[in-house]
């Protein structure tokens, strides 16, 4: 009886989650997006995919192996666990311990299934690289699929446990050590797999990872003081698609899950720990640029979005054919400006700014300057990498780096809201 009630609650919440995604899809993706974006991208990707199966690459196998395994290592760190708990649960539901644990168990089971499906999709995409380009046997490819899927879930579980125990700089130190350790273990396991190539050993290592994962999930389930922590994460995950959609449209209104941060979290920032000033001479403009820089750098989410974007784009520019490189370069400038535009609008719309009396024209000027100054190094790096790869001369990096800055300077005011 108890289990049935919890199952019903869980099913309702999962159903509601998918209804929200469907609703968001209906609101954001129309036939224009299908016609000009999704269908052309799908056709090009499908053609490229068939090419991968049929034509061997010019790259050395060791290089392909290194890049593929490095990609899979980063993929391990992208997982999450949905528990489907809600804020209202603390009113009464949480006191029914068995029911509440069962709800979280269902959430974990659901998350492991989603994780496995997603990993399988990634492996279907990578299959031509692993099977054709690297000549991996089917057994190794399937074993690798299970290894990556379990590792991804394990890493997520450990991250959540660590996050519940440490905060601020302590978390970053412990988590960095964990990443280093996991990189060593990951490389060592794969080295042993490929050098010994013993099926029993491979199955045994996957089994050990699975048991370890289950034990840690049980531990996580019984952590008693993590409700607020879990809830904050849950709300963040629940609204992430909506946040992405709003961000990509440069709109505001994404739910402020940050408000739920528990009090013991992050009292001081490690960046400008003593509220240090960036500019020696303080004017309204320099103050605005300064708060924009701190606004971006001190927020983990914003920092990560920029870093991932820059990293991903560099990766794409390096790998793509020459003509595509040019397209990526110009698209990158537009995407970065769009992102900056979103963040600066968010900063500008904050109620705190409304405490002061602003001249709208001046505020527009300040935000323009802030976006330009902050984007300067990012845009230069992207232009420089593109230039070094596209222009066959030593000054290529410089000309495209500076060119990117000029383009940014010219088009940025038109993109700002």
């Amino acid at each position: 009886m108890e289990k049935n009630t919890t199952k019903r609650i869980f099913q309702t919440r999962v159903k509601k989650h998918y209804c929200t995604i469907l609703d968001l899809y209906k609101r954001t993706v129309d036939w224009v997006t299908w016609l000009y974006l999704i269908i052309p991208a799908a056709v090009i990707s499908f053609y490229q995919y068939i090419e991968w199966w049929q034509t061997p690459w010019e790259w050395k196998a060791s290089e392909i192996q290194f890049v593929s395994l490095l990609f899979l290592f980063f993929f391990i760190y992208t997982g999450n666990i949905r528990l489907f708990i809600e804020k209202g649960d603390q009113l009464f539901y949480r006191q029914y311990e068995k029911k509440f644990y069962y709800l979280m168990k269902l959430g974990m089971a659901y998350s492991s299934l989603v994780n496995f499906i997603l990993t399988t999709v990634i492996f279907i995409i990578l299959a031509p690289i692993l099977i054709v380009q690297l000549n991996y046997p089917i057994f190794i490819t399937i074993a690798l699929l299970f290894f990556i899927s379990i590792s991804r879930f394990l890493v997520t579980t450990i991250k959540q446990i660590v996050h519940a125990r440490f905060s601020g700089w302590q978390f970053y130190i412990v988590y960095s050590c964990f990443i280093l350790l996991s990189a060593v273990i990951y490389s060592w396991i794969l080295y042993v797999w490929f050098s010994i190539n013993d099926k029993l050993l491979i199955i045994l290592s996957i089994f050990i990872l699975l048991v370890l994962n289950l034990l840690l999930l049980i531990y996580k389930l019984h952590q008693r003081d993590t409700f607020e922590e879990d809830l904050t994460r849950e709300i963040k995950l629940k609204y992430r698609f909506m946040t992405y959609a709003l961000q990509s449209a440069s709109l505001l209104g994404a739910p402020k899950y940050e408000k739920l941060k528990v009090m013991r979290k992050k009292k001081r920032s490690w960046l400008f720990r003593n509220s240090g000033s960036i500019f020696f001479k303080r004017t309204t403009q320099s103050a605005f640029i300064e708060i924009y820089i701190k606004y971006l750098l001190r927020s983990k989410d914003r920092r990560m979005v920029f870093l991932q974007l820059i990293g991903g784009i560099q990766f794409a520019i390096i790998l793509a054919p020459d003509v595509i490189k040019w397209i990526i370069w110009i698209l990158t400038i537009l995407i970065i400006l769009q992102m900056s535009n979103y963040y600066v609008t968010e900063l500008k719309k904050a109620t705190f700014l409304k405490l002061f009396d602003w001249d709208n024209e001046k505020l527009f000027h300040y935000t323009s300057k802030a976006v330009f100054v902050v984007n300067l190094p990012i845009i230069f790096i992207i232009g420089a990498v593109g230039g070094a790869l596209l222009i066959d001369a030593w000054w290529g990096f410089l000309i495209l780096g500076l060119g990117s800055i000029c383009i940014t300077y010219l088009i940025q005011p038109f993109m700002q809201k």
């Binding site: 003593n274 004017t283 009396d357």
Partner: protein
């Protein structure tokens, strides 16, 4: 007494026509504390938002200030940047309001001491309690030293010591010549400190005047503001 704020709202509200306020007219004079009193949803916050130009409005709002800082606003819900420390908020406010560096730093130090916040100056306000966040808002307002203060429910979350300190500063600012518009539910305090009261219900002004005039209107010569409020405003 010269007016520092003149409010003549014929109509103001949200696009959906809910929470609309009509015919709200009053002035705030130099050194005067005007209390905006009303039940939940009566239109107090809507009035404040209309004054701060955050809503569609038919009418005029006049800040009788020729230059410099027009107002300081203390909102009901503390608002701040999660990524800036307490000190950075103060520095930003001081820079935007073009305050003299040596002076504002001295004032800020005094305010931080008086509100017992000096030990958290380099902390992020998101780690503060509700009361401490409210104190941040209060400190910023008193640091700016404007001609008009617009204060929305300032006592929420404040401990008794800070409430007393806040009232002391309000009194000091009145003496300096600042006009204060304050919305509150704390009627016994409002009765003691407000020079002029505006009783709002259903988006209209139901009664205005000092406490004596309100008592007279309610027909309760010795009644408290709460009694008068109960008498004058239909629930």
């Amino acid at each position: 007494m010269k007016n520092v704020l003149e409010v003549k709202i014929e109509r103001a509200g949200y696009h959906d026509e809910k929470n609309t306020i009509t015919n709200i007219q009053f002035d705030v004079g130099e050194g005067e504390l005007v209390g905006l009193i009303g039940a939940n949803g009566a239109g107090k916050s809507t009035t404040i938002k209309a004054i701060l130009d955050m809503l569609d409005i038919d009418g005029t709002i006049l800040f009788k200030q020729t230059s410099g800082k027009r107002y300081a606003y203390i909102p009901e819900q503390p608002t701040f940047y999660e990524e800036l420390t307490l000190w950075e908020h103060l520095a930003f406010a001081a820079t935007v309001c073009e305050l003299h560096e040596t002076e504002w730093k001295k004032d800020a130090k005094k305010l931080l001491e008086d509100f017992r916040m000096e030990h958290v100056i380099h902390h992020l306000p998101s780690s503060f309690s509700k009361g401490m966040q409210q104190k941040l808002m209060i400190i910023i307002a008193f640091l700016i030293k404007p001609k008009v203060y617009i204060v929305d429910e300032p006592f929420l979350g404040l401990d008794p010591k800070s409430t007393k300190q806040f009232l002391r500063y309000i009194d000091q600012e009145k003496k300096r010549g600042a006009g204060i518009l304050m919305s509150t539910h704390v009627l016994d305090t409002a009765e003691k400190i407000c020079d002029y009261l505006l009783l709002i219900a259903d988006g209209h002004i139901k009664a205005t005047g000092n406490i004596e005039q309100i008592r007279k209107e309610a027909g309760l010569p010795n009644g408290s503001l709460l009694d008068c409020f109960e008498e004058l405003v239909e629930w």
